[in-house]
Symmetry: C2
Subunit: 327 residues, 2 copies
DNA sequence: CACATCGATTGTCACGTGTCAATCCGTGGA
DNA sequence: TCCACGGATTGACACGTGACAATCGATGTG
């Protein structure tokens, strides 16, 4: 394991010179000296020890990103990639940790003296407090913002179903406790739009996602021309499956729109209408806030709604006017 | 940021005493002294600095797990969780990094002097060489093992379809270059089983997973009673969708089995038959190999096949004997 | 009573780094 | 010739930790 002392002796200079040149203070030195040191570091494959640097600086260049407890599809993956790359450009190292891995998070991570923590899922208030007590910068997807986003998605789904001509609208949510707060916000968003537009709201459908659970659908579809705003594409698929088992036609009798733009929704029959979440522009705001050190600015809801795109599939094409947009 | 010196002065002893008691050498000290130091550390919320420890030991307690460039569903997520927990039990900290985040991996990570790297995706040979040159233990899902696993899955799918009575069998693979080596191994596994059992093999179907691509299915289903072994549940759904658009019945005319046991496959109509991958027992082998320091023992194929379970859905229930197992 | 013994506790060193004060050396002015 | 100047380079320190040698003190032995 080569150290800066090795580089120094290899270049015939003092270790101090090596350290300064490699840390941006090269203007104090002769050009050929700079070149010689750089070359020596290159030859020896020198990588400064994070441990040594952390020790002297009091804080490391490490940022820990907490990954929420959901399946990580292409969009979320891309967001993480972007955050990692932008942090790298700013000189920081992004490392990941699953939020599902118990309380061990703080024990395991705080010893690293990370420069900051990015939490893609809401943190508990005392978790946040403890992190900040250790001078760790925190940028999180707060519960408020998350709920605002979910509400906006619910409204967007309802608006789509209304535009397509469904006269009654319901939300469909999975029976997973962990998802409850978000599901509630979604359903509220659906209700909000319907009340504002004077469209009839039907009680929220609770969908059991266990294998085969929909084989014997109940009379949950007691309405003709019902539009269903599903929690995600999986739930949307369950609704389509249940309707099919009940002998109802999609989209003629029941319309469905999901969220996520999952692969299977684009190739099933019928193809699923869905909402695509574009997370790209958030990454910049996150990294910016982290590096500057202040909190993440609460985006206005106008800004948020721009991040969503309705993708028209066959599952909600009630009216003949429902054409597929070019994509 | 409290250091061991703070704990020492708080307990009225020397820093050396603190260090020894907190590192398992407590048998050398009086019980009440041990208690006093432990209490002081607790009171001050002391967490030893990874940097300091790394510096003096020459290597850190950090393990970096490289996450492959695929969507991370519940099974993979659970594997990562298990690895993290088992490593924590052994005193190591597991941190994650996406494999897709460019070549910056080595620059960013090697400075941490990690104890080891777990790669859930095959590494390039020179990557592995460079890691080992820095005394980093490497445990990877080698290309050979990955291909052996895929071959076994393909055989299992073909065997299921054959058992269900489909007289002709085809593999269905997505058009994604990144997946090509694995897809090829799967198709080969399907072919192997068919040749061994004397069942007719049909040319591999190449499935375009772009939205709406299957709306105008070609004449790819030129065979009655065709069994299709799909690359995953998404591809299986595409096959079902295309069959449906072509006016063919599933499972009567075409049988389909996927891989992954994804949620949507259990609630669609028809429900998808699939293969569930049980990754639990691999985590133990991985951590074991990493902590011991030798390479990951190449599991025999018999062992591997035990990790797979066929889940019977409606999409491959050609024969009346095809009953749904209790689960 | 002197001394060896042994358990309990402490002192010291090294790890690799970044920063800043200190030193070196060549040049120009008085 | 001497000194001040200033740019180029180096020395020394601190960061927090774990391991090991060294020290302390009390007890038992001759």
């Amino acid at each position: 394991m080569t150290s800066s002392a090795d580089v120094a002796s290899h270049a015939g200079v003092s270790r101090s010179t090596v350290s300064q040149i490699l840390n941006g203070h090269d203007h104090r030195f002769t050009p050929d000296m700079v070149l010689r040191v750089r070359q020596a570091a290159e030859d020896l494959g020198y990588r400064p020890s994070v441990a040594g640097r952390t020790l002297v600086r009091g804080t490391s260049d490490i940022v820990i990103t907490l990954i929420p407890d959901v399946t990580i599809g292409p969009p979320l993956r891309e967001l993480i990639d972007l955050i990692t790359q932008e942090l790298a450009t700013a000189g920081y190292t992004n490392l990941l940790r699953l939020a599902s891995t118990g309380a061990s998070f703080e024990d395991a991570v705080l010893g690293l003296r990370p420069m900051g923590v990015v939490s893609l899922a809401p943190l508990s208030p005392d978790q946040r407090t403890r992190l900040e007590a250790q001078n760790v910068r925190v940028v999180e997807q707060s519960l408020e913002v998350q709920i605002a986003i979910d509400g906006a998605i619910g409204r967007l789904q309802a608006a789509h179903l209304g535009r397509m001509g469904y006269s009654r609208i319901a939300a469909a949510m999975p029976l997973i406790p962990r998802e409850l707060p978000f599901a509630t916000a979604r359903a509220q968003g659906v209700r909000d739009w319907c009340e504002a537009e004077g469209v009839q709201v039907v009680d929220t459908l609770h969908i059991d996602m266990a294998r085969g659970a929909m084989s014997h659908p109940t009379t949950m579809f007691g309405h003709a021309q019902l539009g269903v705003a599903a929690y995600n594409d999986d739930v949307a698929m369950a609704v389509v499956g249940a309707a099919s088992k009940a002998g109802l036609r999609v989209p003629a009798d029941i319309g469905v729109i999901g969220v996520d733009n999952a692969d299977f929704g684009g190739v099933s029959s019928p193809t699923l209408s869905t909402i695509k979440l574009d997370l790209a522009l958030s990454s910049h705001a996150i990294v910016e806030a982290l590096v500057r050190g202040d909190g993440l600015p609460t985006s206005s809801l106008e800004d948020l709604s721009r991040q969503f795109t309705v993708i028209q599939g066959e599952s909600s094409a009630l009216t003949p006017s429902g054409r597929r947009p070019n994509h």
